[in-house]
């Protein structure tokens, strides 16, 4: 029987004899993850359930990233309790200054392999699709049940297959590839589906760029969004993990809910305009809009690839006087690598703020919030009203080239117009 990759992965993780879109099945997790925002609520639910231990401490990871380092006593207390809980239940814990932003971190640390199921107390758990995993975002009560039983209930999704063909234009990055999909299917277009990214254009993407693509699957309403296992994933995982995995793909005659085709040779750099990731325009159509802040970072766009793109634009230039720029490397490892490469020095010399890894202003937690009437271009994933501070601020989403270019000009420009 022909099956999609999503169906194959779920079937391998359930006791059900068969899975078809719409079926409700219990799915076993290979990994359960939560953070300082979702964890403490989950711990209360777990306690109320009466569970005294977690199903398998070796399959549980807690990460301090949302409010880390604490800028309030309340946050400090949450972070303290996350650490205490992790120690008492014997699970893996990434503390402040020891890890970074959860999704980039868990990929980097070898926790994620193709075909695995990851239950994460964070909607951007779909990022693990970059490595071919069924990573899916869940709320805290779901996470509590996953901690207790190693399972969650799941409505088997249909699949939207996205095929990228053609060669990419200059200054087009992973962010543009996913914004193009959201523009095409809409912010609810992926509801009850998994996105599957295939084609020569998908295969050509580096793992860092795939992170950017998978990260925003949830912005189309999808359960997850993945790349089938290939040589790039295999190379990335070599020396990073001892977990075993097998490369699987959707069967050629599998049924898809929908097929979307994106021709990369015709795709320009894009921007999601306020206040929706689906409100997408070509950069060229909106040049000249004043920008107060540029923010480089998040769970998929604080990678070495993003930082190198910024450096390419900023090298030897100064950030515009009326604009401020904040750069947030996603993990401690990336932070050190960027330091060793001289990128952090280049950023500071250009007049930027370089932050420790944190979710920070991406979700409105801190480290670069916006005031009323201010505008930002961020390499993050959501531009909902009030997402990065004031409800009167305007958040634009774009790739690192576009964001970096705006920092030099103090307004939206095409990166090709400022790059030397």
């Amino acid at each position: 029987m022909a099956r999609t990759l999503a169906e194959k992965i779920l079937l391998a993780h359930t006791d059900a004899d068969d899975v078809r879109p719409g079926d409700v099945v219990m799915v076993r997790c290979d990994l359960v993850m939560a953070n300082d925002a979702s964890g403490p609520v989950a711990f209360r639910q777990l306690e109320e359930m009466g569970a005294k231990e977690v199903f398998d401490p070796a399959k549980v990871v807690m990460v301090s990233d949302h409010f880390s380092p604490a800028s309030s006593v309340r946050s400090a207390d949450m972070l303290k309790r996350l650490k205490a809980w992790s120690e008492s239940y014997g699970v893996t814990f990434y503390g402040q200054g020891r890890g970074g932003i959860e999704h980039t971190l868990l990929c980097e640390e070898g926790w994620i392999v193709p075909g695995s199921v990851v239950a994460g107390g964070d909607s951007h758990t779909c990022t693990y699709g970059a490595l071919g995993a069924f990573g899916t975002g869940l709320g805290s009560t779901d996470i509590a049940a996953c901690l207790a039983f190693g399972e969650f209930w799941q409505v088997v999704p249909g699949t939207i297959q996205v095929e990228y063909t053609g060669e990419r234009q200059p200054f087009v990055a992973g962010k543009d590839l996913i914004l193009a999909v959201i523009a095409e299917i809409g912010v609810a277009g992926g509801t009850n589906t998994a996105l599957e990214f295939v084609g020569e254009g998908a295969e050509a993407l580096s793992i860092d760029e795939r992170l950017a693509v998978s990260n925003m699957a949830v912005e189309a309403g999808a359960e997850t969004g993945f790349f089938p296992a290939d040589d790039k994933i295999s190379e990335y995982l070599a020396g990073r993990t001892s977990r075993t995995w097998e490369a699987e793909r959707s069967d050629p005659d599998a049924e898809f809910v929908r097929q979307v085709h994106i021709d990369l040779s015709r795709l320009p750099p894009l921007i999601a305009m306020p206040h929706s990731p689906g409100n997408v325009s070509a950069v060229a159509d909106i040049v000249g809009r004043k920008i107060d802040q540029v923010y480089i970072g998040n769970c998929a766009n604080g990678t070495m690839t993003d930082l190198r793109q910024v450096a390419e634009i900023w090298a030897g230039q100064r950030i515009h006087n009326d604009c401020r720029a904040i750069v947030v490397p996603a993990t401690q490892k990336i932070y050190r690598e960027a330091m060793a490469e001289g990128l952090l020095d280049l950023f500071v010399e250009a007049g930027a703020i370089v932050s420790t890894p944190t979710c920070g202003a991406c979700f409105g937690g801190g480290m670069g919030l916006l005031g009323p009437g201010e505008t930002v271009i961020a390499t993050t994933n959501r531009n909902f009203r009030g997402r990065m501070g004031s409800g009167e601020a305007e958040v634009h989403l774009a790739n690192a080239y576009v964001a970096a270019a705006a920092a030099l000009a103090g307004e939206i420009v095409h990166p090709g117009d400022v790059a030397r």
Binding site: E48, M78, G137, T141, T191, F363, R385
Partner: protein
Amino acid sequence: MIVEGRAVLVRGDNIDTDVLYPGAQLNIDEVEEMKPYLFEGLDPSLRDELGGDTVLVVDENFGAGSSREHVPLAMRAWGIRCLVGKSFARIFYRNCINLGLLVVTCPEVVDAATSGAMLSIDTETREIEVDGRRFQAHPIAPFVLEMISAGGLVAWGERRLANS
């Protein structure tokens, strides 16, 4: 099961979790402390309409975005008994179900309901009554109904632990 309440209308498609509950307040894990922030970025005056048994009437793709359970936790604590909408975002939907908070899809009710109208939802027949008019809701998965009648995932987990 019959669920009843006074209609509170929340208009607009794609209402996201961030306007329903601000990110800056995610460092709260005590439910009573979450209540004052519900609807903060959307329209704080909506909180004045809450109290007693209410049914939230919403449009398309309600609850898009984050997995923050603070939204349905605060809703349940305010006395919201059910959400009736045109469609729901996936994580928000399952968060409600896991908390035993009924979510029903019925576009006709959304168009018919007026602020303060009495709504009555029968989960067995899927019949929704609004000011004497009757509508039929979309099918609800049996698993979801079981979860609701069990009182949510915590109660379900409690029973599973007791039986193991």
